[in-house]
Structure formats: structure tokens, C-alpha cells
């Protein structure tokens, strides 16, 4: 360790203050702090600090994403082999999935991190860790057969327009990963909907017809999957959103570590369940009479509410606001599913919509506190003059 530390210090010398490469210090620091938590001590304010930092927080989110990702990789292979009818083993399915998905992850990280590093050097701040999560989320919510160049373009759009244009990490209004997906969805609609994109190689192999459950319902078809299959996730869909089971494991990790807001997650589930139940009572079409319990386990709802809606930057920031925000995401998700057959999956649009309204929700919550204070002032003023 000492040797490594010394070589790193040697390597960093040209990036030091007043040296030739000083401008590029954020880039080398990003690698250095990945290996070592730096030896910085407190200079002002509290003299001691918590062990938690943004890296640790973001890595916790990545750990929470892993179960869903690994299942998603397996499911990609499973869907392919199950539909072509070839016999396969778990390992073969996993290898097929990795062959599809690992390149997407690499593309997303390379494109996104290059832009992040560029902006860090340009603006002269350290590289923020937020993209470690965004960069993994982007491929996880794409259809498996999306061309890599589309992943690259969507990623670049999301990082540039949704994030850096607003001032970088912590300043963005919209969730960057969802923005990437929305961009791909609206820019390349043929690659993002229909029945040929959700299962690996569906467009090349005739035997495969990979319609998602919500897509089937929107088209007025019948669903051939049991609720357990939907919950466990062996269904067509975007890469890592299909398994509610493994998303729930991730949710548990997020909630137990306190990294994800349990208020948003609970609020979202309650909102969606209530909305689904009301539509069940109404029951005017196939999607309306689709059981509210099934609504919770199909499509990207679970993944969205656990990993996307809980993004602390684009979500509501006050505790009361988080409840309201969560419930509304749930309500709008089901509402969009039911009312708009062009977008059989409503969670993406529901979250993006609420991202936009989150500051408004917070504004009213905080205003409650401000009003209380002003009222106290007014009462005191009256007492004084009386």
C-alpha cells in the first residue's frame, strides 16, 4: 500500500499547484481518490467528520442496483433462449446477456464520464460521483436491442442538456438517466416500442415475439403470464426493470442504509395501488381492469419508484414534500398507463413530470414554515403595540 501511495504521489507531481498540468488535476484526483480516501483534514467548521461521503453513498446505490442488473443480464439470455426453443443452461443465458449488456454499460460510462471529466477540468472542480450511478442506470432501463450508438447519443444528451447545462451535479431539474431514456424514446420511437425490441435478437429471429405485458394490454391483448412470473421477472421488458423481486432487494438495501428515501418509495406504492384500485372499480378497458396488484409488479414502476424517483437531486427535498411527490408519481404512473395507449409504460413520464413539480411542492411545504414564523412575528407586533 505504501509503495502504491508513493508511486501515486510521484505520478501526481506534475498536476500540483503551479505545475504544468495543474488544470488537469481534477482528472488525476478522481483516480487517486478512487484508490485512497485523501489525507485532507478539517480546516474550518467542525473538526471531526462523519465517515460517509458522496462516494460511499453512490457506491451504496450501485450495490443496491446489482441484484436487478445481474437478474436483468440473466433474463436477457433467458428470454432469448426460451423463445427460440434452444436448450440452455443458466450460464449460457448469463453469457448471452453479458454479451449484449456489458458493451452498453461500457459505452454509457465512457461517454458520460468523458463529458463529466471534461466539465470538471473546464470548471475547475472535482469530478462528482453522481455519474457512477447514472451511468449504470442508463443501460439498465434501455431495451436490450437498442444500438450502441443510440446509447451513446442518449447519454451525451442527458449529461450535457439535463445535467451540465443546469450547472452540474446537484443542480439538475430532471433525473439524467430518465432523460436519456426519454430522449431515446422520443428520438428513436421505432427502437423503443413495439414487439421487436424487448427480447434479444427479436428482430432477427422470427420465432421471437417479445411484447411487454403493458404493451399487450394497451393493444387489447391477453396476458399469458402469472402474477408470480411478473413478480419474479422472467418477462420481456427493459433490461433490468422486469424483476420486482430483485428491485425489492435493492429497495431494502437503499432503505436500510438510509440512502434512498423510504418516504418516496412508500408514497409511490400507496399512490399507485390506490389509483390502480380506483381504475379496477371503473374497469372500462383491459388496462383499467388489470388488477392493481399486477400494476405494481409489471413494467418499470418498481424500478422507477425505487431507483429513479428517489434521486435526491431531482426529487422533493423536504420530508413532507417527499410523501406528496411519491404519492403523485404513483398516481400519475398508473394514470398515464391507463389513459394513454401510446405510452403503455407511464412511470418514466410520471417521474419526469414530478421532477419538474418537485421544487413547487417543496416551495409550498417550506412556505408553511415561513408563514408560521411570520404569523408569530405579527402576533408579537400586536402584543407590543397593545
Amino acid at each position: 500500500m505504501n509503495f502504491l501511495r508513493k508511486s501515486l504521489d510521484e505520478l501526481k507531481k506534475p498536476f500540483g499547484k503551479g505545475q504544468k498540468l495543474e488544470k488537469f488535476a481534477p482528472a488525476i484526483n478522481a483516480f487517486d481518490t478512487f484508490l485512497f480516501v485523501p489525507n485532507h483534514t478539517t480546516k474550518k467548521g467542525a473538526h471531526i467528520r462523519d465517515a460517509v461521503d458522496l462516494k460511499r453513498t453512490m457506491v451504496t446505490v450501485i450495490i443496491a442496483l446489482l441484484p436487478a442488473l445481474i437478474y436483468g443480464i440473466y433474463n436477457t439470455g433467458y428470454q432469448y433462449y426460451a423463445q427460440t426453443g434452444e436448450p440452455f443452461t443458466f450460464l449460457e443465458a448469463f453469457i448471452h446477456g453479458s454479451w449484449k449488456i456489458v458493451p452498453m454499460i461500457i459505452v454509457s460510462y465512457v461517454v458520460g464520464l468523458s463529458i463529466e471529466f471534461g466539465f470538471a477540468v473546464y470548471r475547475g472542480h472535482e469530478v462528482n460521483e453522481g455519474y457512477l450511478v447514472t451511468g449504470l442506470l442508463i443501460p439498465m432501463i434501455m431495451p436490450v436491442d437498442i444500438p450502441l450508438w443510440m446509447v451513446a447519443v442518449s447519454t451525451a444528451f442527458a449529461v450535457l442538456i439535463a445535467k451540465e447545462a443546469f450547472g452540474g451535479t446537484g443542480m439538475n431539474i430532471l433525473n439524467p438517466a430518465l432523460t436519456a431514456r426519454a430522449f431515446a424514446f422520443f428520438a428513436y420511437p421505432t427502437y423503443m416500442s413495439g414487439n421487436k425490441v424487448w427480447v434479444s435478437e427479436a428482430s432477427n429471429v422470427d420465432a421471437i415475439s417479445g411484447e411487454t405485458i403493458l404493451g399487450t394490454l394497451a393493444a387489447g391483448g391477453d396476458v399469458n403470464y402469472s402474477m408470480f412470473e411478473m413478480f419474479q421477472g422472467a418477462i420481456p421488458g427493459s433490461i433490468a426493470e422486469t424483476s420486482t423481486l430483485w428491485v425489492a432487494v435493492g429497495a431494502l438495501i437503499l432503505i436500510l442504509t438510509g440512502v434512498g428515501s423510504w418516504r418516496i418509495i412508500t408514497g409511490g406504492i400507496v399512490g399507485a395501488a390506490v389509483m390502480g384500485f380506483l381504475f379496477n372499480l371503473w374497469g372500462a378497458n383491459a388496462l383499467m381492469s388489470f388488477s392493481w396488484m399486477n400494476h405494481l409488479v409489471v413494467g418499470g414502476f418498481a424500478f422507477g419508484i425505487v431507483f429513479m424517483a428517489t434521486d435526491p437531486v431531482s426529487g422533493a427535498q423536504t420530508n413532507k414534500g417527499k410523501w406528496i411527490y411519491g404519492v403523485l408519481v404513483g398516481i400519475f404512473c398508473i394514470m398515464i398507463r391507463v389513459f394513454n395507449p401510446a405510452y403503455p409504460e407511464g412511470v418514466m413520464l410520471a417521474i419526469l413530470l414530478m421532477n419538474v413539480f418537485a421544487p413547487t411542492i417543496d416551495h409550498y411545504v417550506i412556505n408553511g414554515n415561513i408563514k408560521k414564523r411570520k404569523k408569530r412575528w405579527a402576533v408579537a407586533q400586536e402584543l407590543k403595540s397593545a
Binding site: V37, T41, H47, A51, V59, V259, P312, N369, K372, W377
Partner: protein
């Protein structure tokens, strides 16, 4: 004594740190030099009254406040002005006084103080150098002699890490404490409030002329901002004064004996000390002789005037702050940790976050150091500040309002109700390593300049 109210909170955190001072009052140690540091008086610009080499006796004014020339800071000891240390832009950093054996003191006529009117009493306190014991809210500056506070708060519970036990400090000072309370009663509009621990014991039972309330909960439950908001909230234009418990004793002793009393009982505590304990000493004392007595366990330690969350850094050549009852001594943490950012790694580091097992495993107290445990980042995580902040206001939004210097918003969000130290735990706990206390201090300075 009746308890008028019990205030409690669950928001906050008790940081279980090794090295609390043992309740042993060591014998007094003779110290050659003392120093007054103008920076200890927030919002006060010093104007010197003495030159290097001048002789002063206990109670002689050393400098006065440019903001109000009536406010004088007097010498805690008799001696010779050894050095006036100046920093950048000739700013006065400290005035060092070398003590001599001169037993002369400056006395004041106090026999008939109870018959004095409020104005005469204030004039006496100003002239005798007792005024700096009175601090005001909002802002945490020195009290303004022309204003009448609606309430005066004294809290005898300190919940900060390694905190001193005020009950122990006041053990033999009950009479002076009561006298000090009596003095405060003549200055206040409504009432003097005395905060005591919910499981309080003997020393405070007999205090009279106070509205007594109990406090329960983790740090920062002991902070006065919280008590004031619960009992006598500050509205725009309101003034509330605060006094440290031992300064109440100093006021009481002055009013009895007529001589400026600069008594300071100091705890030396922290996990870098071999024998943390209390010393009876004087305001502004030099720290080195006592540090020698308590012995540091290693080189590379940080000395802090005050607690580890909101104190000021000093050094082994440094001097005790004007208001501090605690000197914390902890190891510097300038070391690297390989892959230290992995969740659940390095559980020996105290963490309030659930991304560490630290609180599960270590019940006996933590070794702490000054490592930042990361680097400053953009504000991302939400909700963590509210968890350690008992006041009824939104800390993150107030911080943001201070950052953008939006005075109207700062007012609306409650800047009048806070002082920087209330954000000490937020400094500690926040993931992005934001310097919350610094931001609030700057915000308050802005308010003083723009609104007053």
C-alpha cells in the same frame, strides 16, 4: 424551584467519543502569560487602550469596541502588556499580558448595587469590564447596552461532545451564581430562564428568581437556540441575551466584591490526552503548562478552544478563549485510507450514517481524528440535515439562502433564530462535506452589515 416546562427533542445525535474529562479539579498551575483575543467577540472591532510595555492591573481596560466605545474588555490579571500580535492588514490577533506579582486590583463601588437603577447598573457593568459576559441573540454578538432583552437565557446543560459538566463547575459557587442571577433580573424585561438537565441534581434546586426548564435529548438539545425557540422565540426586532453559567458566577462575584472576576474552570478533554481533567484557572490563560500536566499521547494533535464541532483551532502555544470552558485535544488525521469509501469499511470511524456498522460495534466510545473522510462535493443527499437539527426551520434551505445572500429569504427562513454552532452537527454529518457553520457565519455577518 418550579419547572415551568420540559423541552425535549429526538433530532440530533450523541457522539460517543473517548476522552471525557474526569471530574477531578486539579490544583491551580501558575502560568506566566495570558492573552485577550478580539476574535472571541463576534462582530466586535477592537480599539486598543494600551501600548506594548504598559502596566495593567486586574480590571484595567485593554481595548474597547469600535461598535460601542462603552464596551470595554479588561485585563484578567495584573501584569505588563508583553506583545500585541497583529495579523494580515494589521488586524489585532491577540494582546499578550505577562503576569506579575502585583496584587493590586481595580475596585468598584458595589455595596449599594441593589438600589441602583437599571441604567446605573448597566453603566457599572460596562465600566468594570463585565459587559462582554452578556451576549445577544440574534447573531450571537455582544449585547447592546441600550436595548432591553425580553429574556435572558442561561443553560447549564452542555450536550456537545466531551462537554463539561456545569453542575460540577458550579459546585462551590452557588452564592455567587444566585447573585449573578439577581443582577441579570435587573436587566431583563420579562424573565431570566435557567435550563437544567432533565435528570438534574442538587446544585440548581435552590436557585431563585429564575424560570427553570428542563432539557432532554441528544446534541444539540443543549444549544440555547433550541431553548429560545421553544420558550421565547425571537421575532424580528426582538432581543434575547445569553450568559454562560460560569460568567453568571463571575458577575455575582463582581457584584459582591467589586472586583472584575475572570474565573474560568477549564476541562482538558479528548482522545489525544492521557489524563483528561479540570483545572481552575483564568480567562485567557496560556495552555502549554496545563497541556504538559494532562500529557498528550502522541505528536500531531489539534488543540481546540471549545468542543470538536464548533470550537476554534489553537496550538500548544495558544491561549484559552474568552468564553471556553473546554479545550479539546484530538489527533490530527492526515492519513490515507485505501478504498475507504467502500460502504461498511473502516467501522472504527464514528458515523451517523447507516452505510457503516460503527454504531453497532463500538459501544465504549470512539477514537476520533480530524480527517475530512472525503472531499467537498455538490449538495446531493437530502434529509440528513433535518435529522440532526432540532429547530423548527429548514436548515438546508436556510444554508442555500445564505449562499446566494438573499436577505429576505434568510429572514423568512429563520436566520434570527440560529448561530453558527447550531450547524456544528450538520458540518459533521453531511455527506457533501459542506461547511455549514462557515456559511451561516457569513450569512449572519451579512445581516449585521445590511440590516443591523
Amino acid at each position: 424551584m418550579d419547572i415551568i416546562k420540559g423541552i425535549r427533542t429526538r433530532r440530533g445525535a450523541k457522539l460517543n467519543i473517548k476522552g471525557t474529562a474526569e471530574k477531578i479539579l486539579s490544583k491551580a498551575i501558575s502560568t506566566p502569560t495570558y492573552a485577550l483575543k478580539p476574535d472571541d467577540f463576534f462582530g466586535t472591532t477592537p480599539k486598543l487602550l494600551v501600548k506594548e510595555g504598559a502596566e495593567v492591573i486586574t480590571g484595567d481596560p485593554v481595548f474597547f469596541s469600535k461598535q460601542d466605545p462603552r464596551i470595554k474588555i479588561v485585563s484578567p490579571v495584573s501584569g505588563i502588556i508583553k506583545e500585541i500580535v497583529r495579523g494580515p492588514k494589521r488586524k489585532i490577533e491577540k494582546i499578550i499580558i505577562e503576569a506579575n506579582q502585583n496584587k493590586e486590583v481595580r475596585s468598584h463601588e458595589v455595596a449599594n448595587w441593589e438600589t441602583l437603577g437599571r441604567d446605573a447598573l448597566i453603566a457599572l457593568l460596562l465600566e468594570s469590564g463585565n459587559w462582554p459576559f452578556l451576549q445577544q441573540r440574534p447573531y450571537g454578538t455582544l449585547a447592546h447596552p441600550d436595548e432591553t432583552p425580553k429574556a435572558i437565557f442561561v443553560s447549564t446543560l452542555d450536550t456537545s461532545p466531551l462537554a463539561v459538566d456545569h453542575a460540577f463547575l458550579l459546585t462551590n459557587n452557588h452564592e455567587n451564581f444566585q447573585q449573578g442571577i439577581n443582577v441579570l433580573n435587573k436587566l431583563v424585561d420579562q424573565a431570566v430562564f435557567l435550563g437544567v438537565d432533565a435528570n438534574f441534581s442538587a446544585p440548581f434546586e435552590k436557585v431563585e428568581n429564575v424560570q427553570c426548564y428542563t432539557i432532554a435529548g441528544p446534541h444539540p438539545a443543549g444549544n440555547l437556540s433550541f431553548h429560545i425557540q421553544e420558550l421565547s422565540p425571537i421575532n424580528m426586532g426582538d432581543r434575547v441575551w445569553t450568559v454562560n453559567p460560569e460568567d453568571v458566577v463571575n458577575l455575582g462575584r463582581f457584584i459582591t466584591e467589586g472586583v472584575f472576576s475572570a474565573q474560568r474552570t477549564v476541562a482538558f478533554a479528548g482522545n489525544a490526552l492521557k489524563a483528561p481533567k479540570y483545572f481552575p484557572t483564568t480567562i485567557g490563560v496560556e495552555l502549554a503548562p496545563m497541556i504538559e500536566e494532562v500529557e498528550t499521547t502522541q505528536s500531531g494533535v489539534r488543540l481546540i478552544n471549545g468542543d470538536v464541532l464548533s470550537g476554534k483551532t489553537t496550538s500548544t502555544q495558544g491561549y484559552l478563549g474568552y468564553y471556553n470552558n473546554l479545550v479539546s485535544v484530538i489527533p490530527e488525521g492526515n492519513t490515507y485510507r485505501m478504498f475507504g469509501w467502500l460502504p461498511f469499511k473502516d467501522n472504527s470511524i464514528l458515523s451517523l450514517s447507516n452505510t457503516s456498522f460503527s454504531r453497532l460495534f463500538n459501544k465504549s466510545g470512539f477514537e476520533i481524528d480530524t480527517n475530512l473522510n472525503g472531499e467537498e462535493r455538490a449538495l446531493v443527499v437530502t434529509g440528513e440535515m433535518e435529522k440532526v437539527f432540532p429547530l423548527d426551520l429548514y436548515p438546508m434551505q436556510l444554508l442555500k439562502a445564505c449562499m446566494i445572500e438573499d436577505i429576505e429569504k434568510m429572514e423568512a427562513l429563520g436566520i434570527y433564530e440560529v448561530v453558527p454552532e447550531d450547524f456544528g452537527l450538520i458540518d459533521y454529518a453531511n455527506t457533501s462535506k459542506i461547511e455549514a457553520q462557515e456559511i451561516i457565519r457569513k450569512g449572519i455577518e451579512l445581516m449585521i452589515n445590511e440590516v443591523g
